[in-house]
């Protein structure tokens, strides 16, 4: 089963979730071809071989330095059909990957599944397990078309070194004006931080933090843990923190190894965004906060006292 993997990069590095997509494809049995679009670091691309790609295609078209959904879908569907005759396209679910997956599936007539959480079961047919109801349940879904497009959720596969770097093959696709009907005029992006959807550890604050001016103690903790910072919906609604940090049902859904919630009561809508976390720590002044019921570890205490102590203890333990 020939597999094509779409890899995304951020700030010159291949995203960890894309490495997971390569690892997922490798786990399926391959052969695995990775494809990157736009200007991408050559060493990073070669290194994809270490994680399971036998071949790496690079479309070095500068127009693709911006993630234009239609253009990306055209490149990937052509790569899937022509050169590579791939049966399956695997990509990481992201704000770009998921919309692109949809258009590719429609173009090539593929069975489509997003939010897939583990390797397919191919003992009888091709069955994937998807996360549904915002992490509250799963569905086992059979994909029966010859071509398949699979979007994977974070942690669907473990990134491991299984091979050695491979050389990069330039690949070009002729694109039409219609592919660029959407023009990206500018973008703003937080730099130098750990990206929330990619993070292994997330430190999140709620209204219990009492105001944006108190975030530095939370950021100190996050910095010590190399964690991304998140927040509850009221906090982003109040403008204390930017919208892209909002974790929850209608915000970012995270799936880190460790989620630390500070001063968040744990409304069910917030829990929906964190229920895929491996371990949850809740720090709250209110012993009756519902979040404790969903936690692995809890501390009843004042964030302003507990946080600096925790940061110090973590530094001491290093």
């Amino acid at each position: 089963m020939a597999i094509l993997v779409f890899v995304e990069s951020a700030e010159g590095k291949i995203k960890k979730t894309s490495l997971e997509a390569v690892a997922y494809a490798h786990g399926m049995g391959g052969p695995v071809t990775a494809i990157a679009l736009g200007t991408t670091d050559a060493v990073e691309l070669e290194a994809l071989g270490k994680y399971g790609a036998q071949k790496v295609l690079h479309v070095a078209d500068a127009r693709l330095n911006q993630g234009i959904i239609q253009a990306y879908a055209s490149v990937l569907s052509k790569a899937m059909q022509d050169e590579e005759a791939a049966d399956v396209l695997v990509l990481a679910n992201s704000t770009l990957g998921t919309p692109v997956a949809a258009r590719v599936a429609a173009k090539v007539g593929a069975s489509l599944a997003s939010n897939v959480v583990e390797l397919p079961d191919t003992s009888s047919g091709f069955v994937v397990k998807r996360s549904i109801y915002t992490g509250k349940a799963f569905a086992r879904v059979e994909l029966s078309n010859a071509k398949k497009v699979i979007g994977i959720k974070k942690n669907a596969a473990e990134v491991k070194e299984v091979g050695s770097p491979v050389s990069v093959t330039p690949y070009s696709v002729s694109l039409s004006d219609a592919d660029f009907a959407t023009k990206i005029t500018s973008s703003e992006k937080a730099t130098g931080e750990v990206l929330l959807p990619e993070a292994n550890i997330v430190v999140s604050g709620g209204r219990g933090m009492k105001g944006p001016e108190h975030w530095s103690i939370l950021e100190d903790l996050a910095h010590t843990l190399h964690a991304a910072t998140g927040c509850s919906k009221p906090v982003s609604d109040l403008g204390w923190r930017p919208h892209h940090e909002h974790v929850g049902q209608t915000g970012v859904k995270v799936a880190p190894q460790l989620y630390i919630a500070i001063g968040i009561s744990g409304a069910i809508q917030h829990l929906a965004g964190v229920n895929s976390s491996k371990c949850i720590v809740v720090i709250n002044k209110d012993a009756d906060a519902p979040f404790f019921k969903a936690a692995d570890y809890g501390i009843v205490g004042d964030a302003f006292e507990v946080l600096p102590k925790l940061t110090a203890a973590l530094k001491a333990a290093k």
Partner: protein, 245 residues
Amino acid sequence: MKILVCITHVPDTTSKINFTDNNTKFDPNGVQFIIGPYDDYALARAIEIKESAGATVTVLNVGLAETEPTIRKALAIGADDAVRVNADPTDSLFVATQIADHAKANKYDLILMGRESIDYNSGVVHGLVGEMLGIPSISPVMKLELEGTKAKLAREIEGGKEYLEVNLPFVAGCQEPIAEWKIPNMRGIMSARTKPLAVVEPKAVDSGVKLQKFELPPAKGAVKMIAADNVAELVTLLKNEAKVI
């Protein structure tokens, strides 16, 4: 200006999820259904455009008769008319085909929906519809301003946002803060009762996707409480027991 808003009929975000029939059917017992929260943002933005620039707003739902109270709510919020495609919304391609089929015959300037439904969370219907109609699709959209036949949008990206320009028509998967949710007023609720709600039969689709079974996650173990003056113990537990740091 003709705007189509596609809405889902989904369990309230606080619902406890259960399944019946040997884990092959959703159990609606004790569950309250709502307009999908993301769809609700799309609808609110459509109504704002209608109020500021003038537009007719049609809502479309793929669902069986039980979704009609949800559709009526969308009419009460300010949509002009509604279409219900009389079918169980089994998968994304099925739903997208019904939407594209309706849109082909009705020539909308703008097709809005939520970035994803909160039941199946696929987040792909806008892209499928865009591809089927041969028009741009953009998601997740946080801001949408119309300027004549052009639109300026903001789309969320990991860790930030990007600004885009696109000509009408296009499909947008919406999310906050594109608009404030609207609550129907009494006049809206009264007028919604008599607004047109057409019921159409679905087009057959072979989507190559078939549900086998639902599953619930394993139950969570009890929380381990740690004294506030003993944070070192938490560090030890995270290191040696949970092995996450």
